[in-house]
Protein backbone atom coordinates (compact mmCIF):
# COMPACT_ATOMS: atom_id res chain seq x y z
CA UNK A 1 0.00 0.00 0.00
CA UNK A 2 1.48 3.40 -0.93
CA UNK A 3 2.04 5.98 1.76
CA UNK A 4 3.80 9.28 2.27
CA UNK A 5 7.13 7.49 1.83
CA UNK A 6 6.29 6.37 -1.67
CA UNK A 7 8.99 7.92 -3.75
CA UNK A 8 7.72 8.64 -7.25
CA UNK A 9 7.89 12.43 -7.74
CA UNK A 10 4.25 13.11 -8.66
CA UNK A 11 2.71 10.64 -6.24
CA UNK A 12 4.68 11.86 -3.25
CA UNK A 13 3.65 15.47 -3.97
CA UNK A 14 0.02 14.49 -4.54
CA UNK A 15 0.08 12.48 -1.31
CA UNK A 16 1.05 15.62 0.61
CA UNK A 17 -2.19 17.23 -0.61
CA UNK A 18 -4.14 14.10 0.40
CA UNK A 19 -2.79 14.02 3.94
CA UNK A 20 -3.28 17.77 4.41
CA UNK A 21 -6.91 17.87 3.26
CA UNK A 22 -8.41 14.50 2.35
CA UNK A 23 -12.02 15.73 2.50
CA UNK A 24 -11.51 18.75 0.28
CA UNK A 25 -12.79 18.57 -3.34
CA UNK A 26 -9.84 17.88 -5.62
CA UNK A 27 -11.73 17.87 -8.92
CA UNK A 28 -15.23 19.11 -9.75
CA UNK A 29 -17.07 18.42 -12.99
CA UNK A 30 -18.39 21.86 -13.95
CA UNK A 31 -21.28 20.47 -15.96
CA UNK A 32 -22.96 18.19 -13.41
CA UNK A 33 -21.34 19.47 -10.19
CA UNK A 34 -20.10 15.98 -9.19
CA UNK A 35 -16.75 15.92 -7.43
CA UNK A 36 -13.91 13.78 -6.08
CA UNK A 37 -12.25 14.69 -2.80
CA UNK A 38 -8.51 14.28 -2.40
CA UNK A 39 -9.20 11.18 -0.28
CA UNK A 40 -11.50 9.65 -2.92
CA UNK A 41 -9.05 10.45 -5.71
CA UNK A 42 -6.24 8.82 -3.73
CA UNK A 43 -8.35 5.71 -3.06
CA UNK A 44 -9.46 5.36 -6.70
CA UNK A 45 -5.88 5.79 -7.95
CA UNK A 46 -4.71 3.03 -5.61
CA UNK A 47 -7.59 0.75 -6.68
CA UNK A 48 -6.90 1.29 -10.40
CA UNK A 49 -3.28 0.17 -10.09
CA UNK A 50 -4.58 -3.43 -10.18
CA UNK A 51 -5.27 -2.83 -13.87
CA UNK A 52 -1.52 -2.71 -14.49
CA UNK A 53 -0.95 -5.92 -12.55
CA UNK A 54 -3.89 -7.78 -14.09
CA UNK A 55 -2.93 -7.04 -17.71
CA UNK A 56 0.83 -6.62 -17.11
CA UNK A 57 0.76 -3.36 -19.05
CA UNK A 58 3.42 -0.62 -19.00
CA UNK A 59 1.27 2.09 -20.60
CA UNK A 60 -2.37 3.03 -20.66
CA UNK A 61 -4.06 5.17 -23.31
CA UNK A 62 -7.53 6.62 -23.08
CA UNK A 63 -9.56 7.77 -26.08
CA UNK A 64 -11.71 10.77 -25.17
CA UNK A 65 -11.62 13.22 -22.28
CA UNK A 66 -11.28 11.31 -18.99
CA UNK A 67 -14.23 12.11 -16.72
CA UNK A 68 -14.20 11.88 -12.93
CA UNK A 69 -14.47 8.08 -13.13
CA UNK A 70 -11.34 7.71 -15.24
CA UNK A 71 -9.12 10.60 -14.18
CA UNK A 72 -7.62 8.80 -11.13
CA UNK A 73 -5.75 6.69 -13.71
CA UNK A 74 -3.40 9.64 -14.29
CA UNK A 75 -2.30 9.26 -10.67
CA UNK A 76 -2.26 5.45 -10.79
CA UNK A 77 0.35 5.76 -13.54
CA UNK A 78 2.40 8.06 -11.29
CA UNK A 79 2.08 5.62 -8.41
CA UNK A 80 3.32 2.54 -10.31
CA UNK A 81 5.71 4.36 -12.68
CA UNK A 82 3.78 3.63 -15.86
CA UNK A 83 2.94 5.71 -18.91
CA UNK A 84 -0.30 7.65 -19.46
CA UNK A 85 -1.39 8.63 -22.99
CA UNK A 86 -4.47 10.85 -23.37
CA UNK A 87 -5.93 10.76 -26.91
CA UNK A 88 -8.53 12.95 -28.54
CA UNK A 89 -11.80 11.27 -29.47
CA UNK A 90 -12.07 13.82 -32.30
CA UNK A 91 -9.06 12.36 -34.08
CA UNK A 92 -9.86 10.02 -36.95
CA UNK A 93 -9.29 6.34 -36.24
CA UNK A 94 -6.41 6.19 -38.72
CA UNK A 95 -4.50 8.80 -36.70
CA UNK A 96 -5.22 7.13 -33.36
CA UNK A 97 -3.90 3.92 -34.86
CA UNK A 98 -0.80 5.72 -36.15
CA UNK A 99 -0.12 7.11 -32.66
CA UNK A 100 -0.61 3.78 -30.90
CA UNK A 101 1.63 2.06 -33.45
CA UNK A 102 4.51 4.27 -32.27
CA UNK A 103 4.26 3.06 -28.67
CA UNK A 104 6.67 0.20 -28.02
CA UNK A 105 5.21 -0.85 -24.67
CA UNK A 106 2.58 -3.42 -23.75
CA UNK A 107 -0.32 -0.96 -23.79
CA UNK A 108 -3.95 -1.03 -22.71
CA UNK A 109 -6.34 1.39 -24.39
CA UNK A 110 -9.63 2.44 -22.83
CA UNK A 111 -12.58 3.77 -24.75
CA UNK A 112 -16.23 4.31 -23.87
CA UNK A 113 -17.21 3.12 -27.35
CA UNK A 114 -16.00 0.17 -29.35
CA UNK A 115 -13.27 1.12 -31.85
CA UNK A 116 -12.82 -1.91 -34.15
CA UNK A 117 -11.39 0.42 -36.81
CA UNK A 118 -8.39 1.05 -34.53
CA UNK A 119 -7.74 -2.44 -33.15
CA UNK A 120 -7.67 -5.86 -34.77
CA UNK A 121 -8.38 -7.70 -31.54
CA UNK A 122 -11.66 -7.91 -29.64
CA UNK A 123 -11.97 -5.78 -26.51
CA UNK A 124 -12.51 -6.87 -22.94
CA UNK A 125 -14.55 -4.81 -20.50
CA UNK A 126 -13.15 -3.10 -17.43
CA UNK A 127 -14.94 -0.99 -14.86
CA UNK A 128 -13.58 2.35 -13.67
CA UNK A 129 -15.73 3.98 -11.01
CA UNK A 130 -19.31 3.87 -12.28
CA UNK A 131 -18.41 3.32 -15.95
CA UNK A 132 -17.67 0.29 -18.03
CA UNK A 133 -14.90 0.77 -20.63
CA UNK A 134 -13.82 -1.24 -23.63
CA UNK A 135 -10.24 -2.34 -23.06
CA UNK A 136 -7.88 -3.20 -25.93
CA UNK A 137 -4.49 -4.79 -25.42
CA UNK A 138 -1.69 -3.91 -27.84
CA UNK A 139 1.85 -5.32 -28.09
CA UNK A 140 0.72 -8.29 -26.01
CA UNK A 141 3.96 -10.18 -26.65
CA UNK A 142 6.24 -7.29 -25.67
CA UNK A 143 8.21 -7.72 -22.49
CA UNK A 144 8.56 -4.99 -19.86
CA UNK A 145 11.20 -2.34 -20.75
CA UNK A 146 14.49 -2.24 -18.81
CA UNK A 147 13.97 1.41 -18.02
CA UNK A 148 10.64 2.83 -16.78
CA UNK A 149 8.63 4.30 -19.66
CA UNK A 150 8.05 8.07 -19.76
CA UNK A 151 5.25 9.12 -17.45
CA UNK A 152 3.24 11.06 -19.99
CA UNK A 153 3.05 11.17 -23.77
CA UNK A 154 1.43 14.17 -25.43
CA UNK A 155 0.60 14.05 -29.10
CA UNK A 156 1.58 16.80 -31.49
CA UNK A 157 1.77 17.09 -35.25
CA UNK A 158 5.14 17.51 -36.90
CA UNK A 159 5.88 19.62 -39.94
CA UNK A 160 5.27 16.54 -42.07
CA UNK A 161 1.84 16.04 -40.53
CA UNK A 162 2.93 12.77 -38.94
CA UNK A 163 2.05 12.59 -35.24
CA UNK A 164 4.94 12.86 -32.81
CA UNK A 165 4.76 11.96 -29.16
CA UNK A 166 6.31 14.42 -26.71
CA UNK A 167 7.64 12.54 -23.67
CA UNK A 168 7.70 13.69 -20.06
CA UNK A 169 9.26 11.96 -17.07
CA UNK A 170 7.57 12.49 -13.69
CA UNK A 171 10.42 14.68 -12.45
CA UNK A 172 10.09 16.92 -15.51
CA UNK A 173 6.35 17.23 -14.98
CA UNK A 174 6.86 18.22 -11.35
CA UNK A 175 9.43 20.90 -12.33
CA UNK A 176 7.08 22.31 -14.95
CA UNK A 177 4.18 22.30 -12.49
CA UNK A 178 6.23 24.03 -9.79
CA UNK A 179 7.23 26.63 -12.36
CA UNK A 180 3.56 27.62 -12.75
CA UNK A 181 2.75 27.30 -9.03
CA UNK A 182 5.61 29.65 -8.10
CA UNK A 183 5.12 32.09 -10.96
CA UNK A 184 1.43 32.66 -10.26
CA UNK A 185 1.62 32.06 -6.47
CA UNK A 186 -0.99 29.29 -6.68
CA UNK A 187 -2.20 28.28 -3.22
CA UNK A 188 -4.36 25.53 -1.82
CA UNK A 189 -7.20 28.05 -1.43
CA UNK A 190 -7.37 28.53 -5.20
CA UNK A 191 -10.20 27.23 -7.36
CA UNK A 192 -8.77 26.57 -10.81
CA UNK A 193 -10.92 26.40 -13.92
CA UNK A 194 -9.69 24.30 -16.85
CA UNK A 195 -11.43 24.34 -20.18
CA UNK A 196 -8.62 22.63 -22.07
CA UNK A 197 -8.74 18.88 -22.71
CA UNK A 198 -6.24 16.56 -21.07
CA UNK A 199 -4.67 15.56 -24.39
CA UNK A 200 -3.57 19.22 -24.66
CA UNK A 201 -0.58 20.30 -22.56
CA UNK A 202 -2.59 23.19 -21.12
CA UNK A 203 -5.22 20.77 -19.78
CA UNK A 204 -2.38 18.81 -18.15
CA UNK A 205 -0.92 21.98 -16.65
CA UNK A 206 -4.22 22.89 -14.99
CA UNK A 207 -4.60 19.37 -13.55
CA UNK A 208 -1.11 19.07 -12.08
CA UNK A 209 -0.99 22.66 -10.79
CA UNK A 210 -4.25 22.00 -8.91
CA UNK A 211 -3.34 18.58 -7.53
CA UNK A 212 0.24 19.37 -6.52
CA UNK A 213 -0.69 22.66 -4.85
CA UNK A 214 -3.70 21.22 -3.04
CA UNK A 215 -6.14 23.52 -4.86
CA UNK A 216 -9.48 22.52 -6.40
CA UNK A 217 -9.76 21.92 -10.14
CA UNK A 218 -13.04 22.71 -11.89
CA UNK A 219 -13.03 20.77 -15.14
CA UNK A 220 -15.00 22.05 -18.11
CA UNK A 221 -14.29 20.45 -21.45
CA UNK A 222 -15.21 21.27 -24.14
CA UNK A 223 -15.11 25.02 -23.65
CA UNK A 224 -18.33 26.98 -23.91
CA UNK A 225 -18.56 30.67 -22.92
CA UNK A 226 -21.85 30.40 -21.04
CA UNK A 227 -20.81 27.28 -19.13
CA UNK A 228 -17.39 28.89 -18.43
CA UNK A 229 -18.99 32.00 -16.91
CA UNK A 230 -21.49 29.91 -14.95
CA UNK A 231 -18.64 27.81 -13.57
CA UNK A 232 -16.73 30.96 -12.54
CA UNK A 233 -19.75 32.18 -10.60
CA UNK A 234 -20.91 28.86 -9.15
CA UNK A 235 -17.51 27.70 -7.91
CA UNK A 236 -15.95 31.14 -7.18
CA UNK A 237 -13.06 30.46 -9.55
CA UNK A 238 -9.86 32.32 -8.65
CA UNK A 239 -7.34 31.14 -11.27
CA UNK A 240 -7.33 29.99 -14.90
CA UNK A 241 -5.06 29.88 -17.94
CA UNK A 242 -7.46 30.18 -20.87
CA UNK A 243 -6.16 30.19 -24.43
CA UNK A 244 -6.50 33.61 -26.00
CA UNK A 245 -9.17 32.31 -28.41
CA UNK A 246 -11.40 31.55 -25.42
CA UNK A 247 -10.88 35.08 -24.13
CA UNK A 248 -11.87 36.48 -27.53
CA UNK A 249 -15.04 34.38 -27.54
CA UNK A 250 -15.81 35.60 -24.00
CA UNK A 251 -15.18 39.20 -25.01
CA UNK A 252 -18.84 40.32 -25.54
CA UNK A 253 -19.80 39.00 -22.08
CA UNK A 254 -16.67 40.48 -20.43
CA UNK A 255 -17.30 43.88 -21.99
CA UNK A 256 -20.95 43.86 -20.96
CA UNK A 257 -20.15 43.05 -17.35
CA UNK A 258 -16.49 42.84 -16.25
CA UNK A 259 -17.65 42.04 -12.71
CA UNK A 260 -18.36 38.45 -13.84
CA UNK A 261 -14.67 37.86 -13.15
CA UNK A 262 -14.75 39.40 -9.67
CA UNK A 263 -13.80 36.12 -7.94
CA UNK A 264 -10.54 35.90 -9.90
CA UNK A 265 -7.19 36.40 -8.19
CA UNK A 266 -5.16 35.70 -11.31
CA UNK A 267 -5.95 35.18 -15.02
CA UNK A 268 -3.26 34.07 -17.46
CA UNK A 269 -3.68 34.35 -21.23
CA UNK A 270 -1.78 31.77 -23.23
CA UNK A 271 -1.34 30.21 -26.69
CA UNK A 272 -0.89 33.14 -29.09
CA UNK A 273 -0.95 36.73 -28.03
CA UNK A 274 -4.24 37.93 -26.60
CA UNK A 275 -5.86 40.97 -28.16
CA UNK A 276 -4.08 44.10 -26.80
CA UNK A 277 -7.37 46.03 -26.66
CA UNK A 278 -9.07 43.29 -24.65
CA UNK A 279 -6.12 43.15 -22.23
CA UNK A 280 -6.26 46.93 -21.78
CA UNK A 281 -10.01 46.78 -21.09
CA UNK A 282 -9.63 43.94 -18.59
CA UNK A 283 -6.91 45.88 -16.79
CA UNK A 284 -9.04 48.99 -16.66
CA UNK A 285 -12.16 47.26 -15.34
CA UNK A 286 -10.88 44.54 -13.03
CA UNK A 287 -8.54 44.18 -10.06
CA UNK A 288 -7.09 40.70 -10.50
CA UNK A 289 -3.58 39.88 -11.75
CA UNK A 290 -3.55 39.69 -15.54
CA UNK A 291 -0.66 37.72 -17.00
CA UNK A 292 0.37 36.53 -20.38
CA UNK A 293 2.74 33.66 -21.04
CA UNK A 294 4.62 32.44 -24.06
CA UNK A 295 5.84 28.89 -24.49
CA UNK A 296 5.12 25.60 -26.15
CA UNK A 297 4.53 22.01 -25.14
CA UNK A 298 8.22 21.18 -25.46
CA UNK A 299 9.45 24.11 -23.33
CA UNK A 300 6.65 24.84 -20.81
CA UNK A 301 6.41 28.51 -19.93
CA UNK A 302 9.32 30.46 -21.42
CA UNK A 303 8.35 34.08 -20.79
CA UNK A 304 5.72 35.69 -18.61
CA UNK A 305 4.50 39.18 -17.97
CA UNK A 306 2.13 40.59 -15.38
CA UNK A 307 0.50 43.61 -16.94
CA UNK A 308 -0.20 46.78 -15.06
CA UNK A 309 -2.76 49.44 -15.91
CA UNK A 310 -0.14 51.77 -17.33
CA UNK A 311 2.05 49.29 -19.15
CA UNK A 312 2.38 48.55 -22.83
CA UNK A 313 0.58 45.22 -23.33
CA UNK A 314 1.87 44.26 -26.76
CA UNK A 315 4.74 42.00 -25.65
CA UNK A 316 4.94 38.65 -23.87
CA UNK A 317 7.47 39.65 -21.22
CA UNK A 318 10.89 38.45 -20.20
CA UNK A 319 12.37 34.97 -19.76
CA UNK A 320 11.27 33.48 -16.47
CA UNK A 321 13.62 31.99 -13.87
CA UNK A 322 15.35 28.84 -15.16
CA UNK A 323 14.89 29.91 -18.78
CA UNK A 324 17.01 31.76 -21.32
CA UNK A 325 15.53 33.19 -24.49
CA UNK A 326 17.41 34.38 -27.52
CA UNK A 327 16.74 35.23 -31.12
CA UNK A 328 18.56 32.81 -33.39
CA UNK A 329 22.16 33.97 -33.89
CA UNK A 330 21.64 33.37 -37.63
CA UNK A 331 18.98 36.09 -37.88
CA UNK A 332 19.47 39.61 -39.12
CA UNK A 333 18.41 42.98 -37.68
CA UNK A 334 17.28 41.49 -34.38
CA UNK A 335 14.25 39.65 -35.75
CA UNK A 336 14.32 35.91 -36.11
CA UNK A 337 13.46 32.53 -34.70
CA UNK A 338 12.93 32.43 -30.94
CA UNK A 339 15.13 29.85 -29.20
CA UNK A 340 14.50 28.63 -25.66
CA UNK A 341 16.88 27.09 -23.13
CA UNK A 342 15.00 25.80 -20.11
CA UNK A 343 15.32 23.43 -17.16
CA UNK A 344 11.73 22.45 -17.94
CA UNK A 345 12.30 21.14 -21.49
CA UNK A 346 10.43 17.93 -22.29
CA UNK A 347 12.26 14.61 -22.43
CA UNK A 348 12.34 14.41 -26.22
CA UNK A 349 10.11 12.75 -28.80
CA UNK A 350 9.31 9.08 -28.22
CA UNK A 351 11.25 6.81 -30.60
CA UNK A 352 12.43 9.79 -32.62
CA UNK A 353 15.82 10.92 -31.38
CA UNK A 354 16.80 12.34 -34.76
CA UNK A 355 13.77 14.65 -34.85
CA UNK A 356 14.52 15.82 -31.31
CA UNK A 357 18.18 16.42 -32.12
CA UNK A 358 17.21 18.51 -35.13
CA UNK A 359 14.83 20.54 -32.93
CA UNK A 360 17.56 21.58 -30.50
CA UNK A 361 20.71 23.63 -31.19
CA UNK A 362 24.16 22.33 -30.32
CA UNK A 363 24.16 24.38 -27.11
CA UNK A 364 20.77 23.03 -26.01
CA UNK A 365 18.28 25.71 -27.09
CA UNK A 366 14.93 24.48 -28.43
CA UNK A 367 14.12 25.93 -31.86
CA UNK A 368 10.57 27.20 -31.36
CA UNK A 369 9.62 27.77 -34.97
CA UNK A 370 8.26 31.17 -33.83
CA UNK A 371 9.45 34.58 -34.96
CA UNK A 372 10.13 37.42 -32.54
CA UNK A 373 12.36 40.22 -31.36
CA UNK A 374 13.26 42.03 -28.14
CA UNK A 375 11.88 45.54 -27.63
CA UNK A 376 13.85 48.41 -26.02
CA UNK A 377 13.02 47.07 -22.55
CA UNK A 378 14.22 43.53 -23.40
CA UNK A 379 10.66 42.21 -23.53
CA UNK A 380 10.00 39.52 -26.12
CA UNK A 381 7.59 40.47 -28.89
CA UNK A 382 6.00 37.47 -30.60
CA UNK A 383 5.47 37.94 -34.34
CA UNK A 384 4.07 34.59 -35.48
CA UNK A 385 5.30 31.27 -36.79
CA UNK A 386 8.49 31.16 -38.82
CA UNK A 387 7.67 27.77 -40.23
CA UNK A 388 4.58 27.06 -42.26
CA UNK A 389 2.65 25.95 -39.19
CA UNK A 390 0.15 28.34 -37.64
CA UNK A 391 -2.29 28.51 -34.77
CA UNK A 392 -6.03 28.18 -35.16
CA UNK A 393 -8.28 28.20 -32.09
CA UNK A 394 -5.14 28.02 -29.94
CA UNK A 395 -4.00 24.76 -31.57
CA UNK A 396 -0.98 24.35 -33.78
CA UNK A 397 -1.85 23.42 -37.37
CA UNK A 398 0.58 21.90 -39.83
CA UNK A 399 -0.60 22.53 -43.43
CA UNK A 400 1.23 19.44 -44.70
CA UNK A 401 -1.09 17.15 -42.75
CA UNK A 402 -4.21 18.73 -44.25
CA UNK A 403 -2.71 18.81 -47.76
CA UNK A 404 -1.71 15.15 -47.51
CA UNK A 405 -5.28 14.11 -46.67
CA UNK A 406 -6.95 16.45 -49.20
CA UNK A 407 -4.71 15.34 -52.04
CA UNK A 408 -5.95 11.78 -51.63
CA UNK A 409 -9.46 12.86 -52.65
CA UNK A 410 -10.22 11.93 -56.28
CA UNK A 411 -10.36 14.95 -58.59
CA UNK A 412 -8.02 17.05 -56.39
CA UNK A 413 -5.01 17.74 -58.59
CA UNK A 414 -3.17 19.96 -56.13
CA UNK A 415 -3.98 21.77 -52.92
CA UNK A 416 -2.54 24.29 -50.47
CA UNK A 417 -3.59 24.74 -46.83
CA UNK A 418 -2.85 28.11 -45.26
CA UNK A 419 -4.08 30.50 -42.54
CA UNK A 420 -6.58 33.31 -43.02
CA UNK A 421 -6.33 35.74 -40.08
CA UNK A 422 -9.49 35.88 -38.00
CA UNK A 423 -10.34 38.24 -35.14
CA UNK A 424 -11.74 35.52 -32.89
CA UNK A 425 -9.98 32.28 -33.76
CA UNK A 426 -6.55 33.73 -34.54
CA UNK A 427 -6.59 32.06 -37.93
CA UNK A 428 -9.06 30.07 -39.97
CA UNK A 429 -7.74 27.07 -41.87
CA UNK A 430 -8.16 27.70 -45.59
CA UNK A 431 -7.74 25.16 -48.35
CA UNK A 432 -7.17 26.15 -51.97
CA UNK A 433 -7.82 23.30 -54.36
CA UNK A 434 -6.89 22.88 -57.97
CA UNK A 435 -9.56 20.51 -59.08
CA UNK A 436 -11.05 18.72 -62.04
CA UNK A 437 -14.35 19.94 -63.41
CA UNK A 438 -16.22 17.18 -61.61
CA UNK A 439 -14.81 18.10 -58.19
CA UNK A 440 -17.77 18.30 -55.82
CA UNK A 441 -17.34 20.73 -52.94
CA UNK A 442 -19.88 18.93 -50.80
CA UNK A 443 -18.24 15.55 -51.31
CA UNK A 444 -14.77 16.99 -50.67
CA UNK A 445 -15.96 18.58 -47.43
CA UNK A 446 -17.66 15.37 -46.30
CA UNK A 447 -14.41 13.49 -47.01
CA UNK A 448 -12.26 16.00 -45.09
CA UNK A 449 -14.63 15.85 -42.12
CA UNK A 450 -14.32 12.09 -42.11
CA UNK A 451 -10.54 11.94 -42.45
CA UNK A 452 -9.29 14.88 -40.35
CA UNK A 453 -9.59 15.73 -36.66
CA UNK A 454 -12.33 18.30 -36.33
CA UNK A 455 -9.92 21.08 -35.33
CA UNK A 456 -8.03 20.49 -38.62
CA UNK A 457 -10.94 20.57 -41.06
CA UNK A 458 -10.64 23.68 -43.28
CA UNK A 459 -13.11 26.46 -42.50
CA UNK A 460 -12.67 28.11 -45.90
CA UNK A 461 -12.54 26.36 -49.26
CA UNK A 462 -11.37 27.90 -52.53
CA UNK A 463 -11.65 25.94 -55.76
CA UNK A 464 -9.21 27.42 -58.27
CA UNK A 465 -8.98 26.97 -62.03
CA UNK A 466 -5.20 27.41 -61.95
CA UNK A 467 -2.43 27.90 -59.41
CA UNK A 468 0.21 30.61 -60.03
CA UNK A 469 3.68 29.28 -60.68
CA UNK A 470 7.23 30.53 -60.31
CA UNK A 471 9.51 30.84 -63.36
CA UNK A 472 10.88 27.44 -62.36
CA UNK A 473 7.40 26.01 -62.88
CA UNK A 474 6.94 25.33 -59.17
CA UNK A 475 3.82 26.44 -57.36
CA UNK A 476 4.02 30.07 -56.17
CA UNK A 477 2.34 29.48 -52.84
CA UNK A 478 2.79 33.03 -51.57
CA UNK A 479 1.20 34.52 -54.68
CA UNK A 480 -1.71 32.11 -54.41
CA UNK A 481 -2.27 33.02 -50.77
CA UNK A 482 -1.96 36.74 -51.56
CA UNK A 483 -4.49 36.53 -54.38
CA UNK A 484 -6.98 34.73 -52.16
CA UNK A 485 -6.43 37.04 -49.18
CA UNK A 486 -6.81 40.11 -51.43
CA UNK A 487 -10.11 38.66 -52.65
CA UNK A 488 -11.17 38.20 -49.03
CA UNK A 489 -10.30 41.80 -48.20
CA UNK A 490 -12.47 43.02 -51.09
CA UNK A 491 -15.35 40.88 -49.82
CA UNK A 492 -14.94 42.26 -46.28
CA UNK A 493 -14.93 45.84 -47.52
CA UNK A 494 -18.10 45.31 -49.52
CA UNK A 495 -19.74 43.68 -46.46
CA UNK A 496 -18.71 46.69 -44.32
CA UNK A 497 -20.11 49.08 -46.92
CA UNK A 498 -23.43 47.22 -46.87
CA UNK A 499 -23.71 47.36 -43.09
Amino acid sequence: MPDENHSTPIWSRFYQSVTAQSKKPAIIDALDGSSLTYGELNQAAITFQTLFEEFRIDAIAIIGEPDLDAIPLVLSCALVNKCFIPLSQDDPSSRIRQVLDQIPYRTGTLSLREVPEVFDSAPRRVKLGRKSYFFYLKNAKTTAPDLAPPYLLTQSSGSTGEPKLIAFAQGTKVRRTDQSIELFSVRHQDVILSSSPLHHSLGQRHLFVALLSGATLVKLSPFNPIAWLEAVKRFAVSFAIPVSTHLKILRPELERDPSVLSTFRCLVASSATADADLKARLLKNTDFELWEIYGMTETACATAVRFSKTENVSHVGKAISGTNIRISPDSEEGQGEIEVLSDCLCDGYLNNDSLWESSVTEDGYFRSGDLGYFDDNENLVFLGRSTESFESCGLLIFPAEIERVASNFPAVRDCVAFPIPNEIFGNLIALAVLGDADLGRRDLLAYLREELSKNKVPAQLFIQQAFPTLPSGKLDKHKLMREILDGQAILSKSAEAKS
Binding site: I226, R442, A459
Partner: protein, 77 residues
Protein backbone atom coordinates in the same frame (compact mmCIF):
# COMPACT_ATOMS: atom_id res chain seq x y z
CA UNK B 1 -27.95 15.03 -53.36
CA UNK B 2 -26.59 18.25 -54.85
CA UNK B 3 -29.69 19.11 -56.93
CA UNK B 4 -32.00 18.29 -54.09
CA UNK B 5 -29.90 20.34 -51.68
CA UNK B 6 -29.86 23.29 -54.03
CA UNK B 7 -33.63 23.27 -54.09
CA UNK B 8 -33.78 23.27 -50.33
CA UNK B 9 -33.26 26.10 -47.89
CA UNK B 10 -29.41 26.30 -47.81
CA UNK B 11 -29.41 26.59 -44.03
CA UNK B 12 -31.55 23.50 -43.52
CA UNK B 13 -29.55 21.65 -46.18
CA UNK B 14 -26.36 22.53 -44.26
CA UNK B 15 -27.71 21.20 -40.98
CA UNK B 16 -28.66 18.02 -42.81
CA UNK B 17 -25.20 17.69 -44.40
CA UNK B 18 -23.57 17.98 -40.99
CA UNK B 19 -26.05 15.62 -39.33
CA UNK B 20 -27.19 18.30 -36.86
CA UNK B 21 -30.80 18.81 -35.86
CA UNK B 22 -31.84 22.44 -36.58
CA UNK B 23 -33.06 24.19 -33.41
CA UNK B 24 -36.80 24.78 -33.02
CA UNK B 25 -36.19 28.26 -31.60
CA UNK B 26 -34.90 30.55 -34.41
CA UNK B 27 -33.48 33.03 -31.87
CA UNK B 28 -31.36 30.62 -29.85
CA UNK B 29 -27.57 30.90 -30.27
CA UNK B 30 -26.46 27.40 -31.16
CA UNK B 31 -22.97 28.04 -29.87
CA UNK B 32 -23.78 29.59 -26.54
CA UNK B 33 -26.54 27.01 -25.93
CA UNK B 34 -23.80 24.36 -26.48
CA UNK B 35 -25.66 22.72 -29.37
CA UNK B 36 -22.45 23.00 -31.42
CA UNK B 37 -18.87 23.93 -30.55
CA UNK B 38 -16.64 26.49 -32.29
CA UNK B 39 -15.45 23.95 -34.87
CA UNK B 40 -19.10 23.10 -35.53
CA UNK B 41 -19.86 26.78 -36.12
CA UNK B 42 -17.04 27.03 -38.66
CA UNK B 43 -18.26 23.96 -40.52
CA UNK B 44 -21.88 25.12 -40.47
CA UNK B 45 -20.88 28.49 -41.89
CA UNK B 46 -18.72 26.87 -44.58
CA UNK B 47 -21.48 24.44 -45.52
CA UNK B 48 -24.00 27.30 -45.78
CA UNK B 49 -21.54 29.17 -47.99
CA UNK B 50 -21.21 26.11 -50.22
CA UNK B 51 -24.99 25.58 -50.37
CA UNK B 52 -25.86 29.24 -50.95
CA UNK B 53 -22.82 30.67 -52.72
CA UNK B 54 -22.89 33.58 -50.24
CA UNK B 55 -19.89 34.49 -48.04
CA UNK B 56 -20.87 34.82 -44.35
CA UNK B 57 -19.10 37.04 -41.82
CA UNK B 58 -18.06 34.53 -39.15
CA UNK B 59 -16.88 37.16 -36.64
CA UNK B 60 -20.15 39.05 -36.74
CA UNK B 61 -22.08 35.79 -36.42
CA UNK B 62 -20.05 34.73 -33.36
CA UNK B 63 -20.42 38.14 -31.74
CA UNK B 64 -24.12 38.59 -32.44
CA UNK B 65 -25.27 35.02 -31.99
CA UNK B 66 -25.25 31.90 -34.16
CA UNK B 67 -29.04 31.74 -34.52
CA UNK B 68 -31.22 30.68 -37.44
CA UNK B 69 -32.65 34.19 -37.52
CA UNK B 70 -29.20 35.80 -37.75
CA UNK B 71 -28.01 33.34 -40.42
CA UNK B 72 -31.11 34.03 -42.53
CA UNK B 73 -30.52 37.76 -42.16
CA UNK B 74 -26.88 37.45 -43.28
CA UNK B 75 -27.95 35.40 -46.32
CA UNK B 76 -30.56 37.93 -47.35
CA UNK B 77 -28.21 40.95 -47.09
Amino acid sequence: MSEQALNEDPIIASFKALGIEPPTDPHICLYRAQLIDSFGVMQLVLQIEVESGVRIDLVSLMNEGVSLERMRKLLSE
